[in-house]
Subunit: 207 residues, 2 copies
Amino acid sequence: MKGLLIVISGPSGAGKGTICKALMNESDFWISVSATTRNPRQGEIDGVNYHFLTKEEFKKKIDIDDFLEYAEVYGNYYGTPKSRALQAIESGKDVILEIDIQGALKVKESYPEGVFIFILPPSMEELKNRIINRGSETPESLMTRFKSAYKEINYVSKYNYAVVNDKVEDAVKKIQSIIVAERCRVDRVKDKILDSKEGIIHEQLYD
Amino acid sequence: MKGLLIVISGPSGAGKGTICKALMNESDFWISVSATTRNPRQGEIDGVNYHFLTKEEFKKKIDIDDFLEYAEVYGNYYGTPKSRALQAIESGKDVILEIDIQGALKVKESYPEGVFIFILPPSMEELKNRIINRGSETPESLMTRFKSAYKEINYVSKYNYAVVNDKVEDAVKKIQSIIVAERCRVDRVKDKILDSKEGIIHEQLYD
């Protein structure tokens, strides 16, 4: 069976990153590492948190069509490397993308069979606190981020699932359930079921 | 939040009944008990396995539109009592229906927002063994049931999910994941999210 493309998205401050780290610790996913031209924050590691590229390097990759999506946000480029993610999916691996809303909507255009999960903060107040506590923003960029996060919640309707990030472990359990459920969706398995009706359904379905 | 109507369906011998009993033991569902005019099998209890009705009683209920669906199968009537199931859903309870394919497709017409789960036997061979081992069939009705079960697998494409009943506990876990995932589906929660954007999202969403 082909892997799933699981897109973890939502406004900044909702906790996408924490959730993805926790998911990564619990299961064997292929994690898509984004490319970006922004400067590394303290503690961020090249190739782990992001592939940090120069603008020139990034633009070269755009030219050879090696992004599943890319966008300019707050003056920097962000993008999702394409070919390796698709190879992992074809080989049966579930791929996790942690991505902002602009990016997720572009991925949805090019890969609509992905599983699009919108992470919600427990409240707008909490969202504000989380953005403040991150401590790596100027007051101006903080307000920009908060206003943008507030508007972005409207995009939830473009997603398949909404998960409230109240407790990280609960959000992770919900996402794990979503993955199990998606693997049972008839749209994904019906060809295999009907092809293998004569044989042993189970082996055909889950090999 | 409104409850879910979870429809557990599939060919006879796939193990719908065993799965529903196991689900019932693990969580607090409202179990819809079907009405039927067939004779009780050994050990079946009125009001638990089925509401056993006379044909006259059954037809009276048809006249007052008190079935979510009903059908004649192998010369007997089977039906799903309507009003109590819908009341339970409105009050926030998840309702489980264990129902044959004919019935499930009729429920889907009247209640498309239900969660339609098709239970598959691990193989056609195993399906035959299960029907034989049930031991309550004549050889003729056994062949009728087996042929019908074989054809019925094509109906999987009308369902939302397919779950292979290889090990009951695995099938039950998958169904529990499906229920968690469905409660996160944007189609079901987006109005609450957008209505409560100004307030505390979490409380509005899960109260």
